[in-house]
Amino acid sequence: MSWAPLVLSLEIATLAMLVSLIIGTALAVLLDSRRVPGREVIYSVALTPLVLPPTVLGYYLLVVLGGTSFIGRAFHAVTGSQITFTFTGAVIAAAIGSLPFVVRSARVGLESVDPDLRDAARTLGASPLRVLFTVTLPLAAPAIFAGGMLAFARALGDYGTTQMVAGQLIDHTSTASVYVMNELYAGRDDAARNMAIATTIVGVTLLYVANRLVKRFSRAHV
């Protein structure tokens, strides 16, 4: 059995988590501002991947990021390669599928910060950006990290979206979940079982460690 699919899955899940953490947190900060019109509409759109079947989400991404799309052509003009059926495509697909977990957790985290603390920072001369980076985000960090963990779990376990957007180019974009399916269909039950067990052990261990770290951080933090 090759470990490459598991390593690839971990790489994709880690990068997707980082991307969704950055974009999801930025989006939640934007939604936290009363000045942004249509906040609830934006929020609902950001959560859409939660309610869509993964293959449907994958289909939309194929249409938006495919070689004939505007984004696909622009990406090709700049980098010389395409987005779909590549490692980049797999990361983007996993990140978009994971985004709702970060947006939701980060929004709840930001809303839970006592408004008096933000006001106190402002009266102490802090600009809105300084309030954000020194008070609001540090206090919301445990919730944001918890969202990041869920994003990682979602990205690691994804099958449908990745299959649609990145396909199954062996050793390039065949993730652990795709590999299990391929091996099963090919009649190699042992390889499918071993990969399933390895993915479960690695996934659960990583989430356990991350959960402990977040708890320790939260306790030390506040």
Partner: protein, 215 residues
């Protein structure tokens, strides 16, 4: 200033010379909202806020200095100490225009003045109510304010501690020679602290007088 808050319409004119002015009145009279307007946290429908030669708010002429540019300090009812920072870092927060070494030195000096220097490295949740009040006062002073606003910060303390901190505030304001607006429910506290007492009811000034004579 004039503004409406739900069913409450606030319409007041206050002149606060250096020293302590106590705002008294029943709950919902608009005392905290008035502090919010002075701080820039609440925008009134009309009004002006002037501190010394600076105009912080003049609705008629479109002037509204952002909160962080108004040189004031606000001690909230719940104190609003940053829970993720030590007492010293809380005090240093308002001194961002100073170099770090100077900030630390000044913060420690203020904590010392408040009698809590030994607690400089402790987080707020590990401090008692009285200790937290002292850290909050030190933080407010660190900003070198031109106006101080205190929104019932002593309400949760016992009488002895209240007297102690009240005396400390009185000394500090006498030294700084700045106006301080202190919101309180207690007439006794207002008489003990305030050089002037203003009584607010339903968003309007009903009486005002010196601390000795009462409102």
């Amino acid at each position: 200033m004039t503004l409406s808050r739900g069913e409450l319409a606030i319409d007041v004119e206050l002149v606060c010379p250096p020293g302590i002015t106590c705002l008294m009145g029943p709950s919902g009279a608009g005392k905290s909202t008035i502090l919010g307007v002075l701080a820039g946290l609440t925008l009134p429908t009309a009004g002006t806020v002037r501190v010394g030669d600076e105009t912080w708010l003049d609705r008629a002429n479109g002037v509204d200095v952002p909160v962080h540019e108004r040189r004031l300090s606000y001690v909230f009812q719940g104190l609003a100490l940053f829970p993720h920072m030590t007492a010293q870092k809380n005090v240093e927060y308002g001194m961002h225009d100073l170099p770090p070494a100077q900030r630390a030195e000044k913060a420690l000096a203020l904590l010392d003045r408040m009698g809590v220097k030994s607690l400089a490295q402790r987080r707020p949740r590990t401090l008692s109510g009285g200790e937290r009040q002292r850290v909050a006062l030190a933080r407010a002073l660190g900003r070198q304010p031109r106006l101080m606003l205190l929104d019932e910060p002593f309400s949760a303390l016992d009488q002895a501690l209240r007297d102690q901190l009240g005396a400390l505030v009185k000394d500090l304001v006498a030294e700084l020679k700045i106006p301080l607006l202190h919101v309180t429910h207690s007439l006794e506290e207002a008489k003990q602290l305030g050089e002037r007492i203003v009584r607010i009811e339903s968003g309007r000034v009903v009486t005002q007088g010196s601390g000795k004579s009462g409102p």
